[in-house]
Amino acid sequence: MDMNLIQIGGPIGLGLAALGAGLGLGRAVGSAVEAAGRQPEASGKIQVMMIIGCAFIEALAIYAFIVALLLK
């Protein structure tokens, strides 16, 4: 096999990063939905904060994606 190590390690790293991002996003969205259930009139603000928090968490998985893509 003439693959170099990055072609095996890149997707594995990306999978691990996606796993972490999935766990974090699940927690974030779960608590946002729960807060909206407690106080439905604040759901607009809660939605905005949830979107912003999700973008932060998603960015970490995207760093791994960029590394796997640019170093292959």
Partner: protein
Amino acid sequence: MTGTVEHSIDSGLEHVQQSAHDGVEAAREVSHDVGQAAEGAAHEGAKVHHGEHPPELTNFFMLLSTSRLNDEQAHPVAYKLIKPFDNLNEPDPMKSVVHTANQNVLVSMMSVVLVIVVARVAMSKMALIPSRAQSACELVIEGLRDFFISILGEKHGPRYIPFLLALFIFIWTNNMMGMVPIMKSPSAFFANNIVLGIMVFLYVQYTGIRYLGPKHYVLHLLGNPNDAVTWALSPLMLFLELIGELIKPLSLSLRLFGNIMGEDILLGVFAIMGLGIVALLPMVDNPWIGLPLHLPFMFLSLLLGTIQAMIFSLLACVYISLMLPHDEAH
């Protein structure tokens, strides 16, 4: 004897049919591969370049560089005009980066001109009872202004609003350029984003030095030491704060770049898949139009483009507000 002749003719026919069937199968395989590679200029198809360029939807520059005007002998003048924007026929990948830079700078300039034209036309007759275009522009500007002022505070906020608004509108128009059929989004090019990140970094540091004064700025970097323990820890704090300040533009630009480039690649891969599915049909050998499998990702890309522009300017706002002193109540 006729029986054997018939039998041999039948078996020969069977052989011919079998080989014809094999040939059709092989042709279908080849056309499947061709459909997968999509080398033809498809109407809503995607292109895979030679080399390791990731797939993306066809844009104006690809069409230009594969057109018949890109021939040095046949059309020398047009070739000279097209060559700076051509990154398909360039064998040296380093030069291809420069040519891609020309494409992205051109589309960035187009988006700036578009924003200026829209603003001028909407604000040309400013009235107290606004027209539709003016109220749309005012909606965007006032909504963002309130959002940023709520983070920066009423007293010092308004002087940073033009920078943040310009950042948001520029990045949003850049991202939306990728949705227009034959355009590309300049945010998918790393040099575009790292420059924006460096600009935000320099502006935040300049704000800190100008607002806090040089002495308090250095004290802020040392972690505001006020007794012996914190003075002893201050080299460590300096190290951490420097790393934290330097990582901010990198993370900002990488977040934007990764999101937008990932969306482009997603659209390209699903468009290729749609072409591949059409190539599986029996009569088709080089599909020009495929199934629009990338339709849900168009909506996702619209949403993500807006969100990423919002995140970039919001984070710039938060970094500025971290530099300002915290002794103001919100």
